[in-house]
Amino acid sequence: MLNVKGLTVAYDDTPVFSDVAVKFNAGKITGIIGPNGAGKSTLIKAILNLIKAREGQVDYNGQPMKAVQKQVAYVEQRKDLDLTFPIDVFDLVLTGTYGKLGLFKSPGKAEKAASRSALEQVSLSEFSKRQIGNLSGGQLQRVFVARAIVQQAEIIILDEPFVGIDLQSETAIMRILKQWRDENKTIIVIHHDLNKVTKYFDDLVILNHGIVDYGPANEVYNPKNIESAFSADLSSVLFQEKEGAQ
């Protein structure tokens, strides 16, 4: 279990959120939702030690995150990636083995085999020699998921993995997430599309500069919580539609 205790993050003097306490369970796919600027990505980055928290701590099964760094895979939002970089799909996936290899060791047969197998799992084997700039958004996202597979991590964190990708890629990624869940890994997904929340996630964290609520998705995803995190208007539209459909 990934346990976040009393986490406070601020940029300069503007707090993003304060005193966040939340637990992420193993064997569950946990979604994080909240309006733009609610602090979703910031929470993830603080958990990953990419930004310094002002207060609070994060541990995984009682161990501090620093001690389990190599057990974490992170698929970030691809905004600033250099798509012209001279690297092909296979070599990118292979970088997933670097963490566990450590310094001075080069990827060998086992690492290359793992990368090939990961590419197979996301149905991109025939693209392995392709330069990464020549992929669609969905294919690129699947490549990064393949890298996460190669990392053999226990905690996998994805930041808006379904933004701007095709349905085939979305389905493929969802299949991998479920596979990880079956392997009892801890999966955390920042998500923007409220419609699919209960379909995709076992647990849900609703965030708006602090925790609005968290727990099993079908309990937490209710009009009251959505109203308090987003707006009353949005909540009425979303849940009216649902009732209408039923």
Binding site: L48, N49, L50, K66, Q69, K70, V72, A73, Y74, E76, L81, D82, F85, P86, I87, D88, D91, L92, T95, Y98, G99, L101, L103, F104, S106, P107, Q131, Q151
Partner: protein, 283 residues
């Protein structure tokens, strides 16, 4: 053709020309390799800055008579640290911080060199003087070449991953700052070696132009490194030939050849696809 035969005859006859050629080739290789990482990391300006910021170190080394590699390394790394410090501890952007720091170092270097009262040296530092390399210069250049190759071979995967995806490298605990400053240190060593061939003002061309040329031809990092080093070597040899034959300054001659190779690649490389791009724009 006759001039080519002349050049080779002279190569057989004159030690100074052999030394020049050997040094130029080594500098071509090392700057091509390190330059590749510099352009892939979007640090062309940083390369320019470091190459200028070593000047006070060179001056101090001349004044007190110790190895210029040491003097230059201290100031090169100091400049890199200061640039990082100013950019991270203020709201100033990195390129602005680079501009402020390197021009200050460069200015300090000029003042120190004028205090040392050695104007010939200043001219050589600024524009290179490859026909006057000593045996100890060749040795130093060979050592730096060895360091560059070892550094890139040993830390190849770290250099690759921090150049391509720094955030990912951080998540698995790689000390990306250490890699950054190690690269800066190696960059200053390359800069000092390249001073001899092309001079401080044109060092950046040897770092950037061969790497940019190689980048246009390949999608593989290893291939890019080899190609970039090759372009560096071809530029160095051809430039030296022009320099000897037409009595051009060696540094500018080498840089012009590199630029010509870039221009050819710009037009003909498959990646750039100049003609196709032009056609699609015209449509």
């Amino acid at each position: 053709m006759a001039s080519l035969i002349d050049f080779f005859n002279a190569l057989g006859k004159y030690d100074f020309l052999q030394s020049a050629l050997l040094t130029a080739i080594m500098v071509g290789i090392m700057s091509g390799i390190i330059g590749s990482f510099i352009i892939l990391r979007g640090m062309s300006l940083m390369g320019d800055a470091i190459s200028h910021a070593v000047l006070p170190g060179v001056a101090v080394a001349y004044m007190f008579g110790f190895n210029i590699l040491i003097g230059a390394s201290v100031f090169g790394v100091l400049a890199a640290l200061l640039i990082g410090f100013v950019a991270s501890r203020s709201k100033i952007k990195t390129d602005t911080s680079i501009g402020v720091v390197f021009s200050a170092f460069y200015a300090l270097g000029f003042i120190l060199i004028s205090m040392a009262e050695s104007s010939t040296n200043l001219h050589h530092i600024l524009f290179g003087n490859i026909l006057a390399v000593s045996d100890s210069d060749i040795m130093t250049t060979a050592v730096v070449l060895g360091i560059v190759i070892l550094f890139v071979v040993i830390f190849y995967k770290e250099l690759l991953v921090t150049s391509f995806d720094e955030t990912y490298a951080k998540t698995y605990g790689l000390k990306v700052q250490v890699i950054h400053y190690a690269l800066m240190l190696v960059l200053t060593l390359v800069t000092v070696s390249a001073l001899q061939t092309v001079g401080i003002i044109l060092v950046v061309a040897m770092l950037i132009t061969p790497a940019a040329t190689a980048f246009l031809w390949t999608d593989k990092l290893v291939t890019m490194l080899v190609l970039s080093a090759s372009v560096g070597v071809v530029s160095a040899i051809t430039g030296l030939y022009f320099s000897y034959t037409f009595n051009w300054a060696s540094g500018p001659a080498i840089v012009i050849v590199a630029a010509m190779l870039f221009a050819l690649s710009f037009v003909f490389s498959p990646k750039q696809n100049f003609f196709k791009l032009k056609r699609s724009v015209a449509r």
